[in-house]
Symmetry: C2
Subunit: 489 residues, 2 copies
């Protein structure tokens, strides 16, 4: 190891190290959600990190240039491969590759990291974990309904209490019907309308009206060019976006007034009606899933129903200001993604959420799933010649299911106690010559110590009292430790 | 989607798709092992997939050229980054980066994919999942003992029955002492000796003797040049490798005869003695951990104790021939890896195993952890206008914890039953007009059907009997399905 220059210990920008607290929260989410998805008959699938670049396609919302947005490299056979940027493109490749031998429809869920070669920022990483569920090979709107119901149940199982999140459902076909009804045929104008609609949450109807017409001047003085609709067409679009009030059938009736009559609009309405019926059969009420015509979703590969999961819980930012957390996941129907490979239409629909984002949402909602991550019981290394005895004690605790370890550093008593405290250990076990001779152990309740130390200021009195310290028979050790653990459970 | 050329649906060589059976087995292993590691006080850690290339170092056993063996690419700031090839190098980077704020010693475990840009082959992938546990910041041999005990317990928890695997322990310092005793000073000669020793399993003492001396002619007529030791030195090396018989202390006594006296040999012996004592304290007998001087381990970063987990169970190859499965994991002490960054010596030790390899070992040993992966109950889509009712039935089953789904393809009854059978569904639920009117359901026991169909050959009789088919009150559905599930549990 004679390297003249030492490498700096740092990781590439946008890649983070995750420690116990984050991981425990994320694992709990994935375990709970997987159980729900499996109850719905979805099987797990994991594909490799790399796909050939041509198989991935160019469906990233913010990437128009080739290789933009992905981590790509050339294999030794000169072919370009890239790390997956989502779990949908690899599923489409997998389904196309194995179509003949799969049970159809094919239901699968997957979770794992995805990679985006973008500019990292606060809360914006280049690697993050997604969790997806998809049904490939069913064109039925009931397949969408099933995904929606499952997503709602999954989010609840992950820790979002009933009423704290809602699935908002829309249909691209309805949006297309609206465009037809509003006389929009040009793709650029269509995009401008969708972008305006997507800002309803932030700007309200008046702001969106400006963006649908000539354009809008914001507070900073910047002007955004509008979609150029005439007043009647703009009002029609606004009426469309305003239809998402009341129950699902009520919304559908209102929508029929706005977009009914165009072939695509009618097809979209029929799909939403079937979704509504299936959701009712599944017991998913309007408290968990609504039809919301202002939902657009960025990805261009969606072809029919689209859905978005929104957190309704009031959360606060660092300054204590109430904020809307917004979307924690979404999905929709993508009927052409498998056909890219096979040439045969293979309908598909799915839902995806970001695991860290959901964990943040839960934390913001005051539901920290990992707040109680504890350290092990620390057996103090009192006497170097007695290490084997200490190991025996630690083994005894582990045998009873209690996490435990022997201190293995080089420091003295005081530092060892500090170490135990730093690890949030519930207790320390101290065994000196006296204890060994008498067949006893001394147990220090560190939970109690932490609790009391915030109240007691007199050091001398503290040492006198030795709060939470007891010397007991070795045979009673496990029971005493259990009592300490249970007191803080 | 107007691409003129359709991409081929295939994944890059050496990257595999893993489906339910493999994933269920791997997840069970990881869950069981994580529980053991946490009981030992190890906290989970996940680092990003990429590290800067200089931080990774060049410690791959088969890679001497820069970037050989890894997937590397240049970031937009021109820095080279590479996907991690193991979990040890990222830990060293993490420990160096956070040393000041970590509790010391720092114990962590991690699992996740690693990537090696090598030639793929049968059972040899370019992406595979490793599971590691390491202690950073303790120079004590007891830290090695703890890792060894934990590895043994972890493998057992993963499904390897007691007595089916053994941890073999050696010490690089002992090997160095042996070299000194045998008069080997030259690095190339040392490497030749280690390589010869590493072949003891395959060639036996006579073959190794030739490789330690002038060289060996194999059956194919190829000649391997030997290490060039004189006869006395070769016998000393062979005596060393033969010392691993009997109990741990017996082996240590024999080893003292061969390498005792050299400073490094004595240091190595003292470490192994401390490991032996700690293992005894932890209740790890010679059935689970032995001292085996022929263990070498490929990675050059090991500096002290090294260990290897070997499967003892007899397994058979495809032709039914008995084979030795060999190593399922290994590790050792690497005291210089963190110092690469900090310049300060930071001792560390760890153990690693390949998750898929362990799953293969378990399968080869007849312990298929996922043999029982079942499909969901399938509710047959008998009447298109009744989908909401079917969803309600499926929801009822899920509510009772039974995986269930409504068939959502476009095919008729026969294909639907075939689909249910293909998914290894325990049962199908059929609800037609009669059932709806009467408040009943018809349940088909597919497990029983599969069992009987191997015995009955008369199709007409089969249809007549309708084995395992029953029409019962809807209120009794869940209980009846449970009965079918329990019968095959």
């Amino acid at each position: 190891m004679s390297e003249p220059v030492r490498p700096e210990a740092r990781s590439p920008r946008g890649f983070v190290d995750r420690r116990a607290r984050d991981l425990v929260a994320e694992r709990r989410i994935l375990t709970a959600v997987s159980a729900v998805y499996e109850r719905y008959g979805f099987e797990p699938l994991e594909t490799g990190a790399f796909e050939y670049a041509d198989a991935l396609g160019k469906f990233l919302p913010d990437a128009d240039r080739p290789n933009e947005g992905v981590f790509a490299l050339q294999d030794d056979d000169e072919q370009w491969m890239a790390l997956r940027y989502d779990l949908t493109a690899p599923l489409a490749r997998f389904a196309a590759q194995n179509w003949e031998t799969l049970p159809k429809p094919f239901r699968r869920y997957a979770f794992g990291p995805v990679w985006r070669n973008e500019k990292p920022g606060p809360g914006r990483f280049r690697e993050f974990v997604q969790c997806d569920a998809d049904t490939v090979g069913s064109a039925r709107p009931e397949a969408d309904a099933e995904i929606i119901a499952m997503a709602a149940e999954g989010l609840q199982a992950a820790g979002l209490p009933a009423g704290s999140a809602v699935l908002k459902i829309n249909n691209r076909k309805l949006l297309n019907g609206l465009m037809a009804a509003a006389g929009v045929a040009d793709d650029a104008q269509k995009l401008a309308v969708l972008r305006a609609v997507d800002k309803l949450d932030r700007l309200g109807p008046d702001g969106v009206r400006l963006l649908l017409g000539e354009g809008r001047l914001d507070e900073s003085g910047a002007f955004t060019k509008g979609a150029g609709l005439n007043a009647a067409a703009a009002e029609r679009v606004l009426a469309f976006t305003a239809a998402g009030v009341g129950g699902r059938s009520e919304t559908l009736t209102k929508l029929a007034d706005v977009v009914g009559g165009s072939a695509e609009g009618d097809a979209g309405l029929a799909e939403l009606e079937a979704i509504d019926r299936a959701l009712t059969g599944l017991g998913v009420g309007v408290d968990r899933a609504v039809i919301e015509p202002s939902v657009v979703r960025g990805l261009e590969y969606y072809t029919g129903p689209v859905f978005e999961a929104e957190l309704l819980l009031q959360t606060t930012d660092e300054k204590g200001q109430p904020i809307r957390f917004g979307s924690v996941g979404g999905g929709g129907r993508y009927d052409d993604l498998v056909a890219r490979f096979t040439g045969q239409p293979v309908p598909a629909t799915g839902f995806s959420f970001g695991v860290s984002r959901l964990a943040s949402a839960l934390r913001a909602a005051g539901r920290d799933l990992a707040a109680e991550v504890r350290g092990p019981v620390v057996v103090i290394a009192f006497d170097q010649s007695r290490m084997a005895d200490y190991f025996q004690v630690a083994g005894e605790l582990r045998g009873a299911g209690v996490p435990a370890e022997v201190y293995l550093g080089a420091s003295g008593m005081k530092a060892q106690m500090k170490y135990a405290d730093r690890r949030l250990s519930p207790a320390a076990v101290i065994i000196g010559e006296d204890e060994l001779a008498a067949g006893t152990v001394t147990i220090k309740d560190l939970d109690l110590g932490r609790e009391l130390s915030s109240k007691v200021t007199d050091n001398a009195a503290w040492r006198e009292q030795r709060p939470g310290q007891q010397t007991i028979a070795r045979t009673e050790m496990v029971a005493a430790i259990r009592k300490i653990l249970d007191a803080r459970a």
